[in-house]
Every structure is written in structure tokens, then in C-alpha cells.
């Protein structure tokens, strides 16, 4: 019984981590209509910048905040220099995909050259502190993730529903042509989308990497898990990302404890495929319309 409870808690904790990993992806896709394959590298960048700042005597908190904002700007740069150009050229919807892939290679190589393959640690004093509630254990970082994530979601929700820009973003995700006709400055909104999306990716990196280590290749897992979650939850839906993440986390956790631990990831992928077959748009997904 205790095992089941702990397994479920683990699953939810992992799930929130996965949701975090996917929120940047889903935002950029939902509004910008681009799957940002460099998402994992922004995740890594967030961690690296935070590490540099912490090494230079910034606190974990301040270092993280600055890092997130800086990576946000990187996102804007990507949108302005690359994605927007491809949009103008009227290239197929898939050129941005390959462009972000190229960025993945470029960024990853840069990390290797600048930071070397040696592992770095983004430390904060709470990361490994065990927190015991009724014999269920989670780590201090898990608690931080829970709190910060919920806060961010609330903030994002407020932003999307109550502010001028947020409503504009929703409008564009639903009907681009109509939004243009209504006088929404679509270029600025795209920039904003990438800013927020990149920030979320970096936030994920900063919150999750204290649980292990940072090297140039951690982005790959972030991208893969992120993609799985957006499939389960539905591309373009933040609520879907949360649900999707929790489902994925629970599946993996339960499968590895009660079935075959070595095949943990396989069960995760099989669950993704199952969802794709039964509910192709994801649990709460938006439809993919042409345009």
C-alpha cells in the first residue's frame, strides 16, 4: 500500500517535471505553429547560464531569474532572425522544423566547445533534502518545482486571459486571418510567444537540473519527453500539458515498479502511441488547421 502511494507520488512529481518540459513547446506550437526542436537546447541554456551566475556569487534565485529572461531574449532572436524569415518566404510549414533542428546542432556544439563535456551542477541547498510526509518521501527540489510551476501556470493563465497581449495570443492561435483583420500586430505577438516559450523552456532547465547534472546533451531527453507530453495532452494546450505530463509520469512510474523496470521508457512511448490512436488530438488538443 505504501509502495503504491509512493509510486503514485513519484509519478505525479515526475509528471510535473515532464509538464514543465513541455510547456514551452506547446506554447510556441499553439500560437506560433512551429515545433521548436531547439527547445531542449534552450532548456540546457537556462541551466548553464544559471550555473555561471551562481558561480559568480549570484543566488540561485536571482541567477535563475536573470537566466530565464536572457533565454527569453534568445527565443526572440530565433523568432526574428530565423522563423520570421521562413514565414515571409511562404515556405512550407515544415521549414521551421528543420531550421530549429539546425539550431539544435549549432547550440549543442557551442555548449560542447564552451563548457566541455564535463558535468556541471546547478546547486541549491534544498535540492536533495528529503521531505517526509506520512512516510512518503519527496525531495526538496520536487517541492520547489511544485510551487514554482503552479505559480507560473497561474501567472500564465492570468496573462493569457486578462491582458491585452494574452488575449491577442489566444486570438491568433484560434484564427490567424481574423486576428490580422482585427488589427493585431501579429509580428509582435509571435515575438512575445517565443519570449515566453523560451522562458518556460529555461525555467524547466533551471528547476529540473538540480536533481542531477548538466552537460551539453541533457537537452535531448527534455525534447523527447516534452514531445511525448504534448502528444498526450494536445499540442497548444497548457492544461493538456499538465494532464499529459502527469499521465506520462504515472505510466512510467507504475510500469517500472509493477512491471519491468528496464522497459520504463517503452511503456511511456507505448502510452503515447495509444493516445495517438485513440485520441489523435490529445486529451485536450487543438485541431491542426491549415494556415
Amino acid at each position: 500500500m505504501l509502495l503504491l502511494l509512493q509510486t503514485i507520488v513519484n509519478g505525479i512529481v515526475d509528471g510535473l517535471a515532464y509538464s514543465l518540459m513541455s510547456s514551452g513547446l506547446t506554447l510556441v506550437f499553439g500560437i506560433g505553429r512551429v515545433i521548436n526542436f531547439a527547445h531542449g537546447e534552450l532548456f540546457t541554456l537556462g541551466a548553464y547560464i544559471a550555473i555561471i551566475l551562481v558561480q559568480n556569487h549570484f543566488s540561485y534565485l536571482f541567477g535563475s531569474l536573470i537566466s530565464i529572461i536572457l533565454v527569453g531574449f534568445v527565443g526572440v532572436i530565433i523568432e526574428t532572425l530565423v522563423i520570421r524569415r521562413l514565414r515571409r518566404l511562404g515556405a512550407s510549414i515544415w521549414s521551421p522544423f528543420l531550421a530549429t533542428l539546425a539550431l539544435l546542432n549549432i547550440l549543442q556544439s557551442l555548449y560542447l566547445i564552451i563548457f566541455s563535456p564535463n558535468p556541471y551542477i546547478l546547486n541549491n541547498p534544498f535540492a536533495y533534502v528529503p521531505i517526509n510526509i506520512f512516510s512518503i518521501t519527496i525531495s526538496g527540489q520536487d517541492l520547489i518545482i511544485l510551487i514554482v510551476f503552479l505559480l507560473s501556470i497561474c501567472l500564465l493563465n492570468w496573462f493569457l486571459k486578462k491582458t491585452k497581449y494574452g488575449i491577442a495570443m489566444k486570438a491568433i492561435s484560434q484564427d490567424r486571418e481574423a486576428s490580422l483583420l482585427m488589427g493585431i500586430n501579429i509580428e509582435n505577438i509571435y515575438k512575445l510567444t517565443w519570449f515566453l516559450g523560451a522562458m518556460l523552456s529555461a525555467l524547466a532547465g533551471i528547476l529540473l537540473t538540480p536533481k542531477s547534472t548538466v552537460d551539453p546533451y541533457i537537452g535531448r531527453v527534455a525534447l523527447l519527453k516534452g514531445l511525448c507530453v504534448v502528444i498526450i495532452g494536445g499540442l497548444g494546450s497548457i492544461e493538456g500539458a499538465i494532464l499529459g505530463g502527469i499521465f506520462l509520469g504515472l505510466t512510467e512510474s507504475l510500469a517500472s515498479v509493477y512491471l519491468l523496470p528496464t522497459f520504463k521508457d517503452v511503456f511511456g512511448y507505448l502510452f503515447v502511441i495509444l493516445i495517438l490512436l485513440l485520441k489523435p488530438r490529445g486529451i485536450l488538443g487543438k485541431s491542426l488547421r491549415r494556415g
Binding site: L2, L3, Q6, T7, N10, G11, V13, D14, A17, S109, L112, S116, P117, N118, P119, I121, Y128, V129, P130, N132, T137, S139, K211, S212, T213, D215, Y217, I218, R220, V221, E252, S253, S256, V257, P261, T262, K264, D265
Partner: protein, 375 residues
């Protein structure tokens, strides 16, 4: 576009026209992952090799010939390793290759070197398959999993007397071969029964679900196989979960890097150890001084020493054989040589595996490796 074609053409011409090497240079090919997921290990090994070559050349080379390294990156991808090997063999015309790290890459390269009678020496690869293929010109300058596990397993059975054991290992040739060897010896000694066994993907960084199950099963000992970084993450997460089981680790994580990353979660963990930068014998000091001189610091993994020793042994064999032109003479030289390095005395068997590198058991006490005195 035109300039690109010109560069392409020039490169092709270089391939076709490359002259063979001068008389008094011995070219040794090196294939290792310098980028990609195994880059830490690859760069460390290559650093060790380069340091060795510098000292060899400073002392006059091998029988008067200077050693020149031709180093290629394989990114831990078998195809790239083979491409690099082909370049080394057909373009650079080397006869001896040191490489690689991941067994998949080494095995792929071996298919080619076997066909072309090229000498291949691996400083790291663990897969037993490498010495089971009847390759006369292959030698392994590193302890196999069986060599590492034999003494360690005896120690565990005699001193810790566990009744149950759990395995958590990385799913690659290292993890698979170590677990296989351990299970074999435990069975022979009628040791603990296996109550849990899981292999995780090399990119995994979250072990909580495995550890949760292990905690509930409560084995007497837990054997983990992973590199320093992953092992440190595992033991830290285990500590957070409150796991009190005695932990055994494979030799690869017995590094200063592990101690630094794991902090006090490392206390009480047993390792088989073949070498550590703390050693003070003259061979180790020679290596450490050389490394410090070349790179400004002592190595934080032990893979640098593996590169160092592999290069020195190859040089010894070439010296004894009088050159690299006759692979059979080189093989004979290998089989007859005895060389002492930081890890001990090296001799080789017919199949290419080394004979009995001594390992002893250490435990982490107060953040340092301490040798365990056995009865």
C-alpha cells in the same frame, strides 16, 4: 557554390595523392569519441595518450623513430568509427590503431582491422566479444568485467555475507558485462540471490522509480554500474529516499569526480579499485606529474591513465618487434612483454585479454577512498 566545389576538389586530390610517411616516423592512429555523449572519457583517454607520446618522443622515440599520432573523432557512433578507421588505414597508412571507447564502435572497427590485418588496441572497451572472435592482432589494455568482479565478489561474499542483491546498471556494454560477470561469480560462490535487476538508458537521470522499488524490496546489497556522474546522481537520490542498503559500485565510478559530485552520499560505498589519482607509487607519480605538466591539473577520471598505459605498452611492443611492419612480430612482442605501469604489471593472454591486473577493495570514509583490509 564554385568555391565549395573547389575546396571539395582539393580535398579529394589530397586523398588521392597523399604520400606515404617518411622513414623515421611511426604513425599511430587513434579513434575515440571527442564529441558526443562519451566525450569526457574520450578526451581523457586521448590526453593520456598524448602525454605518453610526448614523453616517448622526448626520450628519443621508439628505436630512434618519432611517434606521430593521427587522431579522429568517432562521436561514439560505429559508422563514424569505421570511417575514421578507413581513413587511417587507406589514407594515412597506419598499421596500429588505438581505439575506441564504446564497445560497439570498437567491434565495428574490428571487423575492418581483422580483414586488413591491422593491429587494434583498445584502452577501454569492455565487451567480451572483442576477444572471442579469434582476432590475432587485437589486444585489450584494460581489465575485463570478469577480472574486476572476481576479487570484489569474493570480498563481498566473505565479508558482507549478503543474502539478497539488487542490480541497477546502465544499459551498455559496461553495465551488461559487469552484471553478467557479477552474477556468474555470485552463483559460483553460492552468494546472494538476485531480487531485482534493471538496466537504464544511458541518458537517464531520474532513478527515483527504480530506487523506490529497491527500497521496498530491501536487498542486503545494491550493486550499481554507471559512470562517475550517473553513479553520483543515483546515490544522492538514494540518500534522499532514505535507502540504507549497503551500496557496491563498479570500478568506473571510483574517481575524485564521483566523490566531489556525490558529497556525503558517497559514505560507506564499496568499490573495486584498480587505480586512483591518490596512488603514490613511482609509476603513478610519473604519470600524474606528466599529466599535470601538460594539462595543468591532475586528471579527475581514471580514463587518462588508461590512455597513458595503452600508448606505453604499444610503444614497448613496437620496440621489441623492431617496427610496425610485421603484425605477427608485433603480436609475439605483445605476448612476451611485461610492463609495469600505474595500474600494475601488464601481461597478455593468447586471446588478447590482459592477465590479472590487481584490484583491491576500497570504501569511502570521510570523503576519501580507504583501502579495506581483508582477512
Amino acid at each position: 557554390m564554385r568555391r565549395f566545389l573547389l575546396v571539395l576538389l582539393l580535398n579529394l586530390m589530397v586523398f588521392l595523392v597523399l604520400p606515404s610517411f617518411a622513414e623515421n616516423i611511426i604513425k599511430i592512429g587513434v579513434i575515440a569519441p571527442l564529441t558526443g555523449s562519451q566525450a569526457i572519457i574520450g578526451t581523457n583517454v586521448v590526453n593520456g595518450i598524448k602525454s605518453a607520446v610526448k614523453r616517448i618522443n622526448d626520450a628519443g622515440g621508439i628505436n630512434g623513430s618519432i611517434v606521430k599520432l593521427v587522431i579522429y573523432d568517432d562521436r561514439n557512433i560505429p559508422d563514424e568509427g569505421v570511417a575514421a578507421a578507413r581513413r587511417l588505414i587507406y589514407e594515412d597508412k597506419v598499421k596500429v590503431i588505438i581505439g575506441s571507447i564504446g564497445s560497439s564502435v570498437t567491434l565495428a572497427i574490428q571487423q575492418l582491422t581483422m580483414r586488413e590485418n591491422i593491429f587494434l588496441v583498445t584502452p577501454v572497451s569492455m565487451s567480451p566479444a572483442l576477444t572471442q572472435r579469434g582476432d590475432k592482432y587485437f589486444f585489450r589494455v584494460t581489465a575485463t568485467a570478469e577480472m574486476r568482479q572476481r576479487g570484489f565478489v569474493s570480498f563481498v561474499v566473505e565479508n558482507l555475507k549478503p543474502k539478497t542483491i539488487a542490480y541497477l546498471a546502465v544499459n551498455d556494454d559496461l553495465g551488461r558485462s559487469e552484471v553478467e560477470a557479477a552474477e556468474k561469480f555470485y552463483a559460483e560462490l553460492k552468494g546472494p540471490t538476485t531480487i531485482f535487476k534493471a538496466f537504464f538508458d544511458p541518458s537517464e537521470s531520474n532513478f527515483i522509480s527504480y530506487l523506490t522499488k529497491i527500497k521496498v524490496l530491501n536487498p542486503d546489497v545494491l550493486f550499481i554500474v554507471a559512470d562517475s556522474v550517473k553513479a553520483a546522481t543515483i546515490v544522492k537520490q538514494a540518500k534522499t529516499l532514505g535507502i540504507k542498503t549497503t551500496i557496491l559500485s563498479s570500478a568506473d565510478a571510483a574517481t575524485a569526480q564521483f566523490l566531489q559530485l556525490a558529497g556525503d552520499a558517497a559514505e560507506g560505498i564499496y568499490f573495486p579499485l584498480d587505480w586512483s589519482p591518490d596512488f603514490t607509487d613511482k609509476y603513478s607519480r610519473e604519470f600524474l606529474n606528466a599529466y599535470k605538466e601538460d594539462y595543468g591539473t591532475i586528471p579527475d577520471t581514471k580514463f587518462a591513465v588508461q590512455g597513458w598505459e595503452a600508448m606505453w605498452i604499444v610503444a614497448e611492443a613496437i620496440k621489441k618487434a623492431g617496427g610496425i611492419d610485421n603484425p605477427d612480430k608485433l603480436r609475439t612482442a605483445f605476448l612476451n612483454l611485461t610492463w609495469i605501469g600505474p595500474r600494475g604489471t601488464w601481461k597478455f593472454k593468447e586471446n588478447g585479454d590482459p592477465i590479472g591486473i590487481s584490484t583491491f577493495v576500497v570504501i569511502v570514509k570521510n570523503g576519501k577512498f580507504e583501502r579495506v583490509l581483508t582477512k
